[in-house]
Symmetry: C2
Subunit: 377 residues, 2 copies
Amino acid sequence: MRTDLTEKFGIEYPIFGFTPSEHVAAAISRAGGLGVLGCVRFNEPEELDGVLEWMHENTDGKPFGVDIVMPAKIPTEGSKVDLDAMIPPEHRAFVERTLDDLGVPPLPDGDRVNTGVLGWLHSVARSHVDVAMEHTRKYGQIKLIANALGSPPEDVIQISHDNGVAVAALAGAREHAMHHVDAGVDIVIAQGHEGGGHTGEVTSMILWPELVDAVGDRAPVLAAGGVGSGRQIAAALALGAQGVWMGTYWLTAAEYQLGASAEGGPTVIQQALLKATSRDTVRRRIYSGKPARLLKTAWTDAWDAENAPEPLPMPLQNLLVGDAHARISQAHDPSVVAMPAGQIVGRLNAITPVAELIADLVSEYEQAVARLSKTAE
Amino acid sequence: MRTDLTEKFGIEYPIFGFTPSEHVAAAISRAGGLGVLGCVRFNEPEELDGVLEWMHENTDGKPFGVDIVMPAKIPTEGSKVDLDAMIPPEHRAFVERTLDDLGVPPLPDGDRVNTGVLGWLHSVARSHVDVAMEHTRKYGQIKLIANALGSPPEDVIQISHDNGVAVAALAGAREHAMHHVDAGVDIVIAQGHEGGGHTGEVTSMILWPELVDAVGDRAPVLAAGGVGSGRQIAAALALGAQGVWMGTYWLTAAEYQLGASAEGGPTVIQQALLKATSRDTVRRRIYSGKPARLLKTAWTDAWDAENAPEPLPMPLQNLLVGDAHARISQAHDPSVVAMPAGQIVGRLNAITPVAELIADLVSEYEQAVARLSKTAE
């Protein structure tokens, strides 16, 4: 599984693993891929700093990356208080009523709500960039900074390049990809309709080769959305991608422990994921204000009901549901999780250590290439 | 490009080309694929009989197939007159008003409306099967009968097998595929969300390997939805398919001449297809009553408008819009066509003879396999 990107990053496999869990990210890098830590859940720079320090201590000097949400266009910037005032009371009432109906308990008194909400805002994202750059100057391990929503700001690209950090950005359409390379982005992540989180309408089978052709030799393309097996990696490389970007695949890793969990068993979120089929996702604006693919649960069903309000624009919708997400993630009901997930969730049927997950990808990829080569003999 | 299916059918490439045009279907078979003639547009058995005779005379003895629409469940069976009476007058008024607004002229007096509508009904589909079987007993060239909507009826499978004709059926989800193999279907066509015509929610990248694994060695899988290049064929085979089923790809073939056309140039439909990008399709119930992916045009936009009625269930919706489709296909405005098309339409940028279209697929497939093999060295 050797491409220009294994060369560029000094990694064994062109497998880029996005995950909010530092335990999973570190394990991916240790196993020969490139773990990319999602930073949106960190409200305070000190928190991220501590986690990056832990990553350094647990990655044997291998490279890793960070994913920082830097929306290209935020309709409204402002303090949390200003933004809160823009949320209609009927929307708040609907969320409260829905949580009650679904039996989601309130947070224990004094519990800090770490909703990741502020991570959407420029000011917070910028402090994440600063922390990451400091770390890379110290240890030189952070080799990639990725952005899910538009091209990163010009000075972020500049400071990243100054520190030897490559910049990647997600694209759901040709125009996004062209904008990225024009802005100086080094790697385009082509994320198809079937992916978890924010996606467009065009599916991976169509989008990957379209973006490969569109950006040409101006940037390598990582294939995202729908990758959860070695066969799909082979397909991605056959379609012209230089590697894959996987997110949902790691959610049932043994190392993934975010959210509530029963003693010793899989977490509540993992219980929900293990049960889901490829048809159990929906693409809705209810998570962030922009269309994102989520696990279909009683929570998403509630927003599909006749009486549900229209989701608010970004970043208001995420502010609106921030507390709800925190309450849901502390609850113990797998039928009410609020979780981005791609259609590949149908393949997640066991809790498996990351090292094994990667070994599975590699051996299935090798079989697929061998089988395909035979068809051409 | 050799698989079990090239062996089974005695064809050069496992490229199954679905098309309503006998000229295109014949050219596909002549060029080493398997042309599959869509029969829904033929109201009278005699018409189909004549066209199959022409196919025989123009395929150098090579095998070909037929696609006959046999809906598994028709909510309502009955004569056209009975069914017509079930269509609400407001729906008819909306269609008339919309055609007027869009400037679609009425059909010339005495023009026969060949809408394909009756092809949805069991009785008509059955007469198509009879004609096809008669032909295969005479010339032995019809090697495949395919059905787009559910498993074919038991006796159709039986009579096909008795005549040495393999039976294929489209599937958009695991349950469909299992139902097909249980019913005795020989080949499962896994059609992803991005395909033209009737599709489910699950995309090709997810669906193809899922159905390959689900049916195992009970049936080979053809990959459909999103195939319009040799790289995508390589991806399909890497994902475990034994061949590909392509529809949209042939719509800009030089041999495709259905619908109105300007003197000597591309047809009106082709003009519309050449302009479209991968984002210019929508999946709606307005064509048949079941979700089908269509080219986005002023006609689909009208049905998305605030004042548009909900589409009717199958087969009423197709009866409702049958005359409209006939009027639109005789008109000369590429912005108002009513045409199933997959997202691969973004790649259709020239009018090209079928032989060249197939040669392109083969050479790009070979390059993709060679490039992929290198990544595994």
